[in-house]
Amino acid sequence: MDVNKIVARYPAEMDNLLNILHALQDAHPLNFLPEENLKVVARYLNTTLSSVYGVVNYYTMLSTKPRGRHIIRLCHSPVCHLMGIGSVQEYLQKHLGVALNEPTPDGMFWVELSECLGICDVAPAMTIDHEPYGYLTEDDIVKIISEIREKDRSAKPDQPADE
């Protein structure tokens, strides 16, 4: 990924900060914002690294820690909670063999909890790389994960979609 090129797509104004951070994070194969990228952003917007950090740390969608190739966000807000996200979470973690907020050994997946994703009609719900999945059951989990693994195998490595 060419950090400078991505950043340059946006006028150098502070109100573009979140748009820029999203673009950089989505372009990174491990879906996070390394310090060297934040430095580029700070320089570009003529602000300090610490103020950029301050913003990144405030927002739950942004991460300064390496995550995984695919980000799974399970909604545990009230509707999904009541509709049984707990057992989906348990099953998914067992299936992938991971705890929350850590990558699978092959770096393919990262599971985190999120608040309401705005797809409560299909609760219990999750997103994988921002794509919504709802009415989740254990069978769905197995299918969805194997489809993604399959797709990755046939694609060339290290070429994440830009944005």
Binding site: L18, L21, Y58, E115, C116, G118, D121, H130
Partner: protein
């Protein structure tokens, strides 16, 4: 049998959301052309006369808000319109439905509003999770520019205007209008003190009109068909239609646009198909996490701003979360309070400490074997204290679900 009356969602499923030509063929941007031929204050008067109230939760008169923004700081060189598309309230997903299925309808509303207050620039703050809404709105904006519906001297008038999308990044509090402005300016989402209101000092200190996606989506039809037509829909003090989002163990969870005043029973049992096989209705939470629990005694009351307020409930942004008899009120309230605790920004003590304390008290109730009356009193006291002393509306929200949960379901099990 209740029926939907689709006004904001009139094009849903009938047009390709990515085709501006489809939208125009369905009469789109006709209201904006009509507005351009009117005097801006007349548009505002029409909106005031229509009785349209903000669909983002507070239910404030949309027309009056425009008048305040239009009248503020006449010497200011900038004046902004901001569309609140942050939609973070659990149980709410109606703005997403509008943005994904007919982005031009709310963009047309933004244009009319902008012209009526002589705004210089528009921003749409969309939550970062809504990637399809962002993509569709972005495509719509690009198509508008190409057709000269955005840009300099639109349709040969004196009105020049452009719109930009700003992404949120996962913070419920950023849906609160003043916090949203902070976030839009590229800062952490800490609330600002009110007053001043955004109408006077909003984005970068300039007069700013902030409305919800659905509110903007109501405007084209009102300009097209007139305030008198609109006022006949819904109830006297809450005219028009409202999109409700229904979730939980019903047969057809989803979104339903009905006239204000439609009963909760019609919404849940007619439109959403009633409870799923083998499930029995226990309660509904109206308005989301910052909402109120109601039991079956509320089923036959009409859903509008004032009617249900009299009953101590809220309409909020139209979330209806249904619970069945196997679900625990304690569990639901706990989940709501956990959500608030997570979303507290920590800037003020009452909310930062109070929201954690509330969770502790809830756990004590769960683990207690005897009378929980004292614990419940302490929960209410804590939430009341937060309501009185918190810096921003988030810390003042806990009392609604707490009080209603305890009032309707004294056993809290």
């Amino acid at each position: 049998m209740a029926k939907e009356n689709r006004i904001v969602l009139k094009n849903l499923g009938r047009i390709n959301p990515e085709s501006i030509d489809d939208y125009i063929a369905a009469g789109g941007y006709g209201s904006f052309r009509k507005a351009l031929g009117m005097d801006p204050p007349d548009i505002i008067d029409e909106l005031i006369a229509s009785g349209l109230r903000g669909r983002g939760g507070a239910g404030f008169s949309t027309g009056l808000k425009k008048r305040f923004t239009s009248d503020a700081c006449l010497a200011c060189e900038n004046r902004y319109v901001v569309c609140n598309a942050d939609e973070g309230e659990p149980g709410t997903f109606k703005d997403r439905i509008i943005m994904e299925n007919d982005p031009h309808i709310y963009l047309e509303g933004i244009l009319i509003a902008a012209y009526s207050i002589r705004a210089t620039k528009g921003y749409i703050y969309i939550r970062g999770e809504y990637v399809r809404s962002i993509r569709r709105t972005q495509k719509a904006i690009e198509d508008m520019r190409e057709k000269g519906i955005l840009g300099r001297k639109i349709f040969g008038s004196d009105f020049s205007f452009d719109i930009e999308i700003k992404k949120g990044a996962g913070s419920y509090l950023c849906g609160e209008e003043l916090t949203l402005l902070e976030s839009l300016e590229g800062k952490r989402g800490y609330p600002r003190i009110k007053p001043p209101f955004p109408a006077e000092k909003g984005l970068w200190g300039f007069p700013t009109l902030i409305n919800n996606v659905e509110t903007f989506g109501c405007i084209p039809a009102i300009v097209d068909r007139g305030a008198q037509w609109y006022k006949k829909l819904g109830t006297e003090t809450s005219p028009g239609t409202k999109i409700f989002s229904i979730s939980g163990p019903v047969k057809r969870p989803g979104f339903y646009e009905v006239e204000m005043g439609t009963t909760l029973r019609s919404l849940i049992f007619d439109l959403a198909g009633g409870m799923r096989e083998g499930k029995e209705f226990r309660a509904a939470i109206l308005g989301g996490a910052a909402g109120t629990f109601v039991d079956e005694s509320m089923l036959d009351f009409g859903m509008d701003y004032d009617g249900i307020k009299e009953k101590g409930a809220t309409l909020g942004a139209g979330a209806i979360i249904v619970m069945d008899k196997t679900m625990s009120i304690w569990e639901m309230l706990y989940s709501i309070l956990r959500f608030f605790e997570h979303e507290s920004c920590g800037k003020c003590v009452p909310c930062r400490v109070g929201s954690t304390h509330l969770l502790g008290l809830m756990k004590q109730i769960k683990n207690s074997t005897g009378g929980t009356g004292i614990l419940k009193d302490r929960i209410v006291q804590q939430a009341e204290l937060m309501e009185k002393t918190s810096l921003c509306p988030l810390g003042q929200s806990h009392i609604l679900p707490v009080r209603s949960a305890i009032r309707y379901f004294p056993e809290l099990q």
